[in-house]
């Protein structure tokens, strides 16, 4: 177990370093000079020059990268060009919003998706209905889902607010219900289809037939012999879903005016607000690696053949 954790930590650090170089380089290569932003409005060539000197914008990219890297090692994540505040103070409130939204959506996706998938896997007629229904969800882009949900449930019916993340637990729950639904609609289909497939595969396995022929009641067969084995691809997909949600919530945050990491990342990228982009992007890398590690642990627990020291 300790070896597992150490291995994963080393791989995380390496991934972060590579990712940081790639992101920094990409931002550097992307067109756009943040000088006008830093000046805050009308500028003259002399002001531009002043700003370039003040913010070291003309230094070679490896010098600027090194400055940034050494800053990180001292706990200084840098300052936002746009807001002129430390990145940490800007990101702190946004993390809460994104975390709440993604967790809410994940719970809905996993609970509903897996439940639908199991139902579809174990039945015949309802299965087709579920397939079609979730298929429509899969085909609906989150932005379209967002607009539809807002128009029907927020504007016409007035049951939910149109925008914002809210403050406090119940208030946030109320504000983030529609966004969570918008995020969930496409992913529920993905999870339920995969669950259904996995279950259907298990149902025709030899050991299941054997168990039935031994006279074991059907529900025990399903629980012990079918579901237990079907879980592995499901947990893998669940891990991918959660990680994918974090990236996918950008669109939903924009549509619902939520001050979260996703919308901040997009905004900062278009403004070439380097410190912010680096910090958020690397945060996403950390989350992705951690989620994958958890999935591996869970799979190892479910199937001893997939122990964490081996490869599945």
């Amino acid at each position: 177990m300790l070896r597992f954790v150490v291995q994963r930590l080393i791989s995380l650090v390496l991934t972060l370093i590579v990712a940081s170089v790639v992101i920094y380089g990409a931002l550097y290569l992307a067109p756009g000079d943040p000088a006008t932003l830093l000046a805050g409005g009308h500028v003259t060539p002399s002001i531009i020059h002043q700003i370039h000197v003040q913010y070291h914008l003309n230094d070679p990219v490896y010098v600027r990268y090194w400055d940034w890297l050494t800053g990180i090692l001292h706990g200084d994540l840098g300052q936002s060009f746009v807001y002129r505040e430390p990145v940490t103070t800007l990101i702190a409130p946004r993390i809460g919003n994104t975390l709440f939204l993604v967790s809410y959506a994940s719970i809905v996706i996993l609970v509903v998706g897996i439940a639908l998938g199991i139902t579809a896997g174990l039945t015949r007629r309802i299965s087709s209905a579920i397939t079609v229904g979730t298929g429509i969800g899969l085909a609906t882009p989150s932005f379209v889902a967002a607009i539809l949900l807002i128009t029907v449930f927020a504007v016409d019916l007035g049951w939910f607010p149109v925008f914002g993340a809210g403050v406090g637990f119940t208030n946030r729950l109320w504000h983030l219900t529609l966004p969570a639904m918008a995020l969930a609609i496409s992913w529920v289909a993905y999870v339920s289809q995969l669950t259904r497939t996995s279950i259907k595969e298990e149902l025709v396995r030899e050991h299941v037939e054997t168990a039935r022929s031994r006279g074991i009641p059907e529900n025990l067969v399903v629980r012990r012999h079918v579901l237990r084995n079907a879980w592995i691809p499901i947990t893998t997909v669940a891990g991918l879903t959660v990680a994918g949600l974090i990236a996918g919530d950008v669109v939903v945050e924009q549509a619902f005016g939520i001050a979260g990491l996703g919308s901040f990342l997009v905004q900062a990228t278009s403004q070439k607000d380097v410190a912010v982009v680096q910090t958020i992007a690397l945060l996403l890398v950390v989350v992705f690696v951690v989620v994958n590690a958890i999935v591996d642990l869970v799979n190892g627990a479910l199937d001893p053949r997939l122990t964490v020291s081996g490869r599945g």
Binding site: G32, G40, V82, I136, T151, T197, G257
Partner: protein
């Protein structure tokens, strides 16, 4: 481990699937129809108020005054979060609106652009190169300190300090000295007479802050960290970057006529048009200025709020960048302008909330003291009626390389600009010119405005600019004044430059108008820009409230303080 995803069904299952699919499609379609519901009736009544020119919609300067106090007003900045709350660095809608709620200016505008006392209770012009301002006594900053003449001097001088990187320095270009000449008196002396300066003191250029506060927070003044210190009807309570700005009523405000009616104002930064429109329709937002034209049809049918249209000072123009190509030729620019159906653009792109415009500065910006001269001169400019035949002729008989593609840059993601640019592209193809649209990300687009190297490869740009006050010299200063940042084509016609400089030094309204209109005749003959429309100010306000000014003067008035219960 391969994961296979497949959809299958037996015969019966397949039939059921088809029926279910149809049923689901019906439901989805129904929902879409439901959401698209809302008739879009277009009002085309034209009843212009005094001074405003005929628009496609009914135009008014202000709404009925509010009668009662309210607890919270939830407002939106359609331009997004302000990048600064420092009056000396503000040159865009969002910062301007927000600062005007908190910062008093030396003088104050009325909704119809007359000038009233502000922090200066009286002022005089003893000789052409001197203005004297008598500061109101006993005005308190939010921290309780009393406003002094020294604060006023410091505040005005910040607009001339390169360390501040001020945006309104152009209005101070003729200032020789700003001195405190009495306990509550400030005297501004000029190197030459300047007729624009005093008017600009009623806008953000006349902003006043507390010297001690700025000196203490020099590098962070105007940011969420450093905050601000002003005397206005609203105080900055909190600024949560990315989320909202909360303003709190100033209970000790010196001017009872503009004391805040709403106890708090929650200012949001929703930019996405769809989200904004939904939020206004649902009532989660009480109102917004600068409502995008594309939202007008939906908002018109809202049961909770109303759209108001006011005389505007924003101009929508197609501006040449001076790059070699067909658009470097004034004749071809003229031809393109001639091919544009401005009335059609006004109704299709701006949903009637605009007036066709035929000059660099619009009719709404005519100096009220010399309207006759401006009107006569405007009438003599080549008309706004499109003439595609003549335009085609100009293009075909041109000696320039008309086959070269013209690149037209616009702001990416802006529906209005996209529609506008598409119309221009279509008009060009009608007359034998080829226009390619280039959508630019916000940062690149704004860089292209100020940094010449960013305009390489671009021939034309869609611009939306605004004047602060009805005085063409306010806008002409940016093109032909001492710090011309928008003279991209490097236009140096001596008559124009001389007239603009002379007009700036001429206090007599009629003489000044003669100089400006003479220059206008010349630079419009040279088609320095292709003017298209002067947009109305578009305000959406909840039916529970009233009191908001509707003309573009709102941007330099404590407009949100004027909003209260109907």
């Amino acid at each position: 481990m391969a994961s296979r995803l497949w959809l299958h069904g037996s015969g019966a299952g397949a039939r059921l699937a088809v029926r279910l699919t149809l049923a689901c499609l019906l439901v989805v379609t129904g929902l879409l129809v439901l959401s698209a519901c809302g008739s879009s009736s277009t009002s085309t009544s034209t009843s212009p108020s005094a001074g405003a020119t005929t628009s496609g919609v009914k135009v008014q300067f202000t709404t009925a005054p509010a009668t009662g106090a309210i607890s919270t007003l939830t407002w939106d900045l359609t331009g997004g979060e302000p990048t600064t709350l420092d009056y000396a660095k503000a040159a865009d809608y969002s910062p301007d609106i927000t600062i005007s709620q908190m910062c008093d200016y030396l003088l104050r505008l009325t909704p119809d652009w007359k000038i009233q006392p502000g922090l200066a209770q009286s002022w005089s012009n003893p000789n052409p190169t001197t203005w004297v301002y008598n500061i109101r006594p006993n005005v308190k900053f939010w921290d309780g300190h009393t406003l002094t003449a020294a604060d006023v001097v410091y505040s005005l001088q910040r607009n001339m300090d390169p360390k501040v990187q001020p945006v309104n320095g152009g209005f101070f270009s003729n200032v020789k000295d700003i001195k405190q000449t009495g306990p509550l008196q400030v005297t501004v002396t000029f190197t030459q007479p300047d007729e624009l300066f005093n008017k600009e003191m009623a806008t953000i250029a006349g902003g006043v802050t507390e010297k001690a506060y700025v000196e203490k927070h020099f590098s962070t003044f105007g940011t969420a960290k450093g905050g601000v210190m002003y005397t206005g009807p609203y105080m900055l309570k909190t600024w949560s970057p990315g989320s909202q700005i909360v303003l709190q009523k100033n209970p000790d405000y010196w001017d009872s006529a503009y004391a805040a009616k709403a106890n708090t104002v929650d200012i949001k930064f929703i930019v996405d048009t769809s989200t904004l429109t939904s939020a206004l329709l649902s009532g989660q937002l009480d109102g917004a200025y600068e409502v995008p034209a594309t939202s007008i049809p939906e908002l018109k049918s809202s049961p909770n709020g109303s759209l108001y249209f006011g005389p505007g000072l924003t101009v929508a123009e197609v501006v040449p960048t001076g790059q070699p190509g067909p658009m470097a030729d004034p004749q071809l620019r003229y031809a393109l302008g001639l091919a544009l159906d401005r009335s059609a653009i006004v109704s299709a792109v701006f949903n009637g909330a605009a007036v066709p415009n035929n000059a660099l500065t619009p009719p709404n910006a005519w100096d009220p003291a010399a309207i006759g001269i401006y009107k006569a001169a405007y009438a003599k400019l080549p008309g706004t009626t499109p003439d595609v035949t003549q335009a085609k002729q100009i293009v075909s008989s041109s000696t320039a390389d008309t086959k070269k593609t013209i690149v037209l840059a616009l702001l990416a993601g802006d529906q209005v600009e996209l529609q506008f640019a598409s119309v221009v592209q279509q008009a060009a193809s009608q007359i034998g010119l080829t226009v390619k649209l280039k959508q630019m990300q916000p940062l690149d687009f704004s860089n292209a405005f100020f940094i010449p190297s960013y305009r390489k490869g671009i021939d034309l740009m869609i611009t939306f600019g605004y004047l602060d006050i009805p005085d063409p010299l306010d806008y002409l200063a940016l093109f032909y004044g001492p710090e011309p940042i928008f003279n991209w084509i490097d236009y140096k016609n001596p008559l124009v430059l001389n007239n603009v400089a002379q007009a700036r030094a001429t206090f007599d309204a009629n003489k000044r108008a003669q100089l400006v209109t003479e220059a206008q005749a010349q630079y419009m003959k040279d088609e320095v820009v292709i003017p298209v429309a002067n947009t109305d100010e578009v305000l959406f306000l909840s039916n529970k409230f009233s009191g908001a000014p509707v003309s573009f003067a709102y941007i330099y008035l404590p407009s949100l303080a004027m909003i209260g219960a109907k």
